[in-house]
Amino acid sequence: MTGMDGVGRRGFLRGAALAGAGLAAGGTASAAAPPATGGPVTLPVPGLLPDSALPVPFHGTHQASVTAPPRRVTAFTAFDVTAENRRELADLLRTVTARARFLTGGGQPAPVGITGPPADSGLLGPQVPAGALSVTVGVGAALFDDRFGLHGRAPRRLTAMPSFPDDDLRPEWCHGDLSLQLCADDTDTVLHALRDLARHTRGGMQVRWRLDGFTSPPRPSGTPRNLLGFKDGTANPDAGSAREMDRLVWVGRGAGEPDWAVGGSYQVVRLIRMLVEFWDRVSLTEQERMFGRARETGAPLDGDAEHDIPHYPADPKGDVIPLDSHIRLANPRTADTAGQRLLRRAYNYDNGTDGNGNLDMGLLFCCYQQDLARQFETVQRRLAGEPLTDYIKPFGGGYFYALPGVREESDWFGRALLT
């Protein structure tokens, strides 16, 4: 057998080198060719699902998938690393990078002749389409224990996700050494990528938990609705504004974070079950006062249209928008709280039924911020005990650090951390 050696192929990592060959041979390389530098690009209005999502460039200073608009479907998977040492961890991340590069860029899977089963599952046909998928890779606090000599190198704020007062966390749905989020507009694209990535890394990491999600289409317009029937994500910061993202999302230099972490972002994932049967038995007025928005239009209760800005100073006692409503607690819209805003990238999830026949569905909440304490944790503390907590049950998730982007062909996820 010849032609099987190459970059990244070691032990538990299979065929990473084949990806390059496939891409080069694909005749689609030019369409998928990444720009030399990345960074924020102008994107459609946040929260609106574009008719045809732009391909997310793979290479760049940041993982562009963080700020890209939500896609129709996602699979969020937390992995535990089973690699035995630092060298194997580096091999694992090189392989993840090579596969992610191929899967997002598209191309021809490399034929292997009689030397093995087909290199690709074939789910997407003979050719993997370019730009259909985005991949986001993060690391959890557990990776910085004593296994890989990374102790003391963790981002300053990265810990295991604590249990908040309204949580009922189930250990089998929490934490992980790595987070991998796959987003696309079709379920088969996501599953194809998940199978490919798992297949190439079986010895190096194992799935810890996984939850799939989806974005509903606008009903009838505007921001997609969550499974409580409300538009969710209306007041997101402008992901198209590099300035805003530098202020709220990306970790920059001089922030007290390790050098390797510059260009990354704190990723918070919260698996939140919604008690939809109970919710459906609640009056509309009560529902709307819990959110602070009208269910039909998404408008704040003191406004007419979804994107109207609520005027809290004109309603100091909360007669119109209750003081303990979700939108008012989450974002009080004061100068002091402007820096606490975070970029939400939530998906709905549907996970069958529980043992009592109640529907298990809710929110696969995900958000990005440059400072966990200043942003997510501050907002979360403010939301503690909000009326909505009777109808939702956070049961899992984790804190991760979305790695800085892969800058070019020879770069790989975590290179600056591990070398």
Partner: protein, 404 residues
Amino acid sequence: MPRSGPAWLRSARARGIGGALLAGGVLATVILAGGPGDAAGGTRTDADGLPHTAVEVSSSGCGRGWTHARSGTQVFELHNTSSAAAEVYLKSPRTGEVYGETEGIGPGTTRRLRVTLGRGAYVFMCLPDDADAVTGPTVRIGGGGRPGPAAAPLTQHDLIPPALEYQKWVAGGLDGLVGRTGTLRDALDRGDLAGAREAWLSAHLAYERLGAAYGTFGDADQKINGTGAGLPRGDRDPGFTGFHRIEYGLWHGAPAASLHAPAGALLATVRTLRDDWAQERMDPADLGLRAHEILENTVEFELTGRTDYGSGSNLATARANIDGTRAVLSRLHPLLVSRYPGLRKLDDDLDRTRRLLDGFRHGGRWTPPDRLDRARREQVNAVFGDLVERLASVATLCDARRTV
């Protein structure tokens, strides 16, 4: 991936073996061709962005149509113009290494073969089901990158000696199995439940070491080692027999007398299996499948705890399955050395896995998979997951192929 039915019916490969024929008519034309970019002959660029070349498959025109060679990933549209099904290899005329194969192209039909070619010389070989192999003209590619992976094909002839050796080894193992199953039956006859549990494990592992994955032992396997799955009344079905039936009783407080009949039946079945084994002819083409699938079974039934009826010995079984895999692999070793570059790593990892599993034995007891802490269980799943991914290549490389 269970392969059902006797493997010798799967393809026509075996038929070519008997006639020791030299490679049939060789069309000796040599075509010199350049690198990619030239467009000519029967090559067109398809919607998939790849060059597609129409090539004839027949005894008289094998490889006809490949007039313009190019490097890179490409598709050959293999059209069988003959009146019989045929298989096709694209190979190196110098080393015989195969870059791609398509089996069972029906008469009058076209099948696609996707390969990556680089600098070098290539030929198509057409193997009609009922006729000698024919080699087409040699095509040279003068430039371009490296070709995709290739390996020299193995023939039934190559695989017969290791298969016979393996069969002999299994025969020895069956003798041991009969002896240990007798010990189990005797312990139950004495009413010695503790001794029976010990003998059960010893006998069951003797069976599992033989690598009884996917029908090696045919219907006997269901009787010896089946679960309640697929039986009308499941675990309460009278058809639920063998090791797991006895295991259930031994670890759920059943009186020894209630296990006499199942143990006696088990002993009779393994004796019959042993006695008949000398008459069995294992298909040599199954050897590679066995090397792969024993551990697929382990992943599906042992690491999940599916086959645990109380003994909690799934990891002991997994350990025995590793031994069973080694027993097959060691016989294939001489054939794989030049064909599978990951062989040494595979051997090392099998050894490492064996040591890892030994760490879960404490005295005569094994930790059940669901009692491992999360990190340990992930580690076990990871090493087995990695092994089956790589053993899959052993199976495809060790398929029996015709060369004449």
